[in-house]
């Protein structure tokens, strides 16, 4: 039986077929749907973890106890989880442990474009890379078997095009792994004291040598001989592009990108006239081929930045472009994503902009407030960074520096807590705004420890934000309704002036979750007679507000604002911002 599955769904399917019992993740595009899909299989115990590090620790604990487990994350999530990962390479596991990293070439939804193949080499772990959904399913299964055979976690690398691409996938039955579940009391393997860890390192090196041998005959590393004039070494989605651009060429298709099968690579290189390496992002394969003494054509003809495409591969190999160039007479405006109509974050950023504060931001929908016309967020580095950075700015610029940190609820649980403890401990006086919309919104509304919902949508115990913050030693904690602009302004002013750390929790449900029903009101409208065309409401970046350019005799204004009643949620932020009282409720 064949089914159309995304790469993410296929990884989940493969893991299920391999008998996976525990699955963990923190949501992150493009990896989110893997563990979401695993939650749909009744035999699997799935969870959203507070962050990727904890997710990997939970999954590896299950692995220590003999269960097959999977942990999925986006590329930058592996930075967070890298601490346990590197030493798991030493301890190994009992039940198979698969760590899925979904890289994001072209930064469709990320803060950088890092190439996580380097982690496989650095952590001394095998890495598989599928090139379509059916391979994603099969490699997911293979990874569990390899993990148990070689006693180490196995990395499965996806990229956005594999994760979110869909293709027909075979389906097989579930078959449990051979490992029995039990405690394994073996301190020299699981307690990484220097004295125990030192003898583990040579075992890791020896394991990598055995894996190198395995890679030579692994059927997913295969030579597809065609025209010998062009030989292409490739893996993942880049292989698909290469195949499409040069259907008749010869290929070395690598299913395992670390460690590499040196003999097989050299055999292939010896059979073709011109050797190319087609890979996205870094010259990872290319550099390794050079270390084997080969001289392939790679990044001098293929881009280092952004994603590849069939035409870029064609252009690189043949040196010719084939695309028609047609220009349109008028500029075509870009269409970036924006905050939804009624979003509870909007008012907060309006006030921060009004107060002219420097805002250390974080990762979530609210990062969109950095764009024009809001222009109200000034940094975004990584999950949880804003709090620590705002403290650093306070140290650099003095206690009166007008700086605040803004962080979402899910991001705060992920990695804001420790930074806030740092501020309290080191006598900071910073103000942190936690924008609590009761969900992990950007990735598609997943639960988190404060949301009261687990991955199955079932009620879960709540780690209460106010108590948590008080427990960290912050004495000034205020909860505000983010739609009440005068109150927001007053509280932010007061807390910034306080001579001790403070937290403002701006709490209201995301417009895309069911709890928003109680918040939604009737749309507001513009009284055209009163509107003086000042455009202050349009600076709010609300999709429901539009500008109607129109000059009329006897009127100074060049047009007026309009509100789309289909989109307006009645949040009344524009109503509070208007100086002419031109925006009113429907009944007024």
């Amino acid at each position: 039986m064949r089914k159309l599955l995304s790469g993410n769904e296929a990884v989940a399917r493969g893991a299920w077929e391999a008998g996976v019992e525990v699955a963990t993740a923190y949501p992150g595009t493009p990896s989110t749907e893997i563990v979401q899909a695993l939650a749909g299989y009744p035999e699997v115990n799935a969870q959203w973890s507070v962050n990727e590090k904890v997710a990997l620790e939970v999954a590896s604990g299950a692995g220590y106890a003999g269960a097959r487990s999977l942990c999925a994350m986006k590329h930058v999530g592996l930075n967070v989880a890298s601490d346990p990962l590197f030493t798991l390479s030493y301890t190994g596991i009992q039940g198979g442990l698969v760590v899925v990293t979904a890289d994001d070439p072209n930064l469709y939804s990320s803060q950088n474009e890092q190439d996580n193949r380097h982690y496989a080499r650095a952590a001394k772990l095998p890495m598989l890379e599928p090139s379509d959904s059916d391979e994603a399913r099969r490699f997911s299964k293979t990874a569990f078997a390899l993990s148990e055979k070689y006693d180490c976690p196995v990395l499965l690398r996806l990229t956005t095009r594999i994760s979110h691409g869909e293709s027909l996938t075979e389906l097989e039955e579930r078959k449990m792994g051979p490992v029995l579940k039990k405690f394994d009391r073996n301190p020299s393997k699981y307690v990484m004291l220097p004295g125990y860890a030192r003898p583990r390192h040579p075992l890791v090196e020896e394991r990598m040598n055995r894996l190198k041998e395995f890679a030579e005959t692994f059927p997913e590393n295969r030579i597809e001989m065609g025209d010998k004039k062009i030989g292409i070494v490739s893996s993942g989605v880049a292989y698909q592009y290469g195949r499409e651009a040069f259907p008749d060429a010869s290929f070395l298709k690598l299913g395992m990108v670390w460690p590499l099968p040196e003999k097989l690579v050299k055999k292939f290189a010896g059979q073709v006239e011109k050797l190319f390496v087609v890979e996205e992002l870094d010259p990872f394969l290319e550099d390794n081929l050079r270390m084997m003494g080969l001289d392939p054509v790679g990044k001098e003809v293929f881009p280092l930045c952004g994603e590849l495409s069939p035409e870029l591969v064609k252009q690189g190999v043949s040196g010719k472009g084939s695309v028609r160039e047609i220009n349109f007479d008028q500029a075509i405006p870009q269409r970036p994503p924006i905050l939804c109509p009624g979003c509870p974050h909007r008012g907060v950023f309006h006030i921060l902009k009004k107060l002219k504060v420097f805002t250390c931001g974080d990762i979530g929908c609210y990062t969109l407030a950095a764009q024009p016309p809001l222009n109200a967020l000034h940094t975004c580095l990584c999950m949880g960074a804003g709090i620590g950075q705002s403290f650093g700015m306070e140290k650099a610029l003095g206690k009166d520096a007008r700086v605040v940190a803004v962080i979402g609820d899910s991001t705060f649980y992920h990695s804001g807590i420790t930074a806030l403890a740092d501020i309290v401990y080191n006598r900071g006086k910073g103000t942190v705004l936690i924008l609590d919309n009761l969900t992990t919104a950007m990735t598609g509304r997943q639960g988190h420890p404060g949301s009261g919902l687990d991955i199955y949508g079932q009620p879960s115990p709540v780690v209460e934000l106010e108590k948590l913050v008080l427990g960290l030693g912050v004495k000034r904690v205020t909860v505000v309704n983010p739609y009440d602009l005068p109150l927001l302004e007053k509280v932010i002013q007061e807390e910034m002036e306080a001579d001790e750390p403070s937290v403002i929790i701006a709490r209201s449900a995301c417009v895309l979750i069911p709890q928003f029903k109680g918040v939604r009101k009737k749309p507001v409208r513009v009284d055209r007679e009163k509107c003086d065309g000042c455009k202050i409401c349009l600076q709010l970046m609300c999709p429901a507000l539009t500008w109607e350019a129109k000059t009329e005799p006897g009127k100074k204004r060049k047009g007026y604002a309009r509100i789309d009643p289909l989109q307006c949620t009645g949040c009344e932020i524009c109503l509070q911002v208007c100086n002419e009282a031109a925006i009113c409720r429907e009944d007024q």
């Binding site: 159309l4 995304s6 595009t29 493009p30 469709y108 939804s109 379509d132 956005t160 095009r161 594999i162 979110h164 691409g165 869909e166 293709s167 027909l168 989605v237 698909q240 592009y241 195949r243 651009a245 495409s309 069939p310 035409e311 064609k314 084939s322 695309v323 028609r324 047609i326 220009n327 349109f328 007479d329 008028q330 500029a331 075509i332 405006p333 870009q334 269409r335 970036p336 994503p337 924006i338 905050l339 939804c340 929908c365 969109l368 764009q371 024009p372 016309p373 950007m442 990735t443 455009k535 349009l538 600076q539 970046m541 609300c542 999709p543 507000l545 539009t546 500008w547 350019a549 047009g559």
Partner: protein, 206 residues
């Protein structure tokens, strides 16, 4: 007869139902026995950004998730500016286009900082660049069918009526029915789909 490979792009604005539409069209192709690959990007783009689904049907060989630039055979556009954007990049002299003419304004246009290109000019350019272009008032038809948001199903109906894919209406009906277990939702979507069939026929006869 089906050619070896058909490249179809469904494009629009995040939130317009691109993914659902591509699932239905792909589902119909699978029922016809074709190989299907879809290239999809989502994530940040669901917040009102430009979105695009690449759907590729092949008879024998598997293909990757991305349509090469200049190689789209068919474009289904949910918004005129997005239709033009995609046609300029992915179209060629034989590309056929069906699109919803109702504009959706990017934020820079809403705030008055940039201008949405002249609509008539967009229509003319699409007409000139494409081998065939058909305008279907999908939002209006969806409203009449019960919900303006079902414009995506109206556009799927228009594509089905065009017969450019050579898939029978029955295949589409099956694909839609399988996706909606709730009878109310299924009926709404089928109504919108049927409205799209009529809409295309009327537009094509103009």
């Amino acid at each position: 007869m089906t050619p070896d490979l058909i490249n179809l792009i469904v494009c629009g604005v995040g939130g317009q139902g691109n993914i659902l539409a591509s699932q239905i069209v792909a589902g119909a192709g699978i029922k016809k026995g074709l190989r299907v690959a879809i290239g999809e990007t989502y994530g940040a783009s669901q917040r009102g950004g430009s979105v695009m689904s690449h759907i590729r049907f092949s008879t024998a060989f598997p293909v990757g998730p991305l349509i090469p630039k200049g190689e789209a055979d068919l474009i289904v556009g949910f918004e005129p500016l997005e239709t033009l954007r995609v046609l300029l990049e992915y179209g060629n002299d034989t590309t056929k286009v069906v699109f919803n003419p109702r504009p959706n304004y990017p934020i820079s246009v809403l705030s008055g900082d940039s201008k949405y290109p002249d609509l008539e000019l967009i229509f003319t350019q699409i007409k000139n660049l494409a081998a065939v272009s058909v305008v279907v008032e999908a939002t209006e038809l969806a409203k009449q069918a019960g919900n303006h948001l079902a414009q995506n199903l109206v556009m799927v109906g228009a594509l089905a009526a065009s017969n450019w894919l050579d898939f029978s209406l029955e295949l589409f009906h099956q694909a839609i029915s399988e996706l909606f277990s709730d009878p109310e939702k299924r009926d709404l979507n089928l109504r919108a789909f049927n409205a799209g069939i009529k809409g295309f026929q009327q537009a094509a006869n103009k």
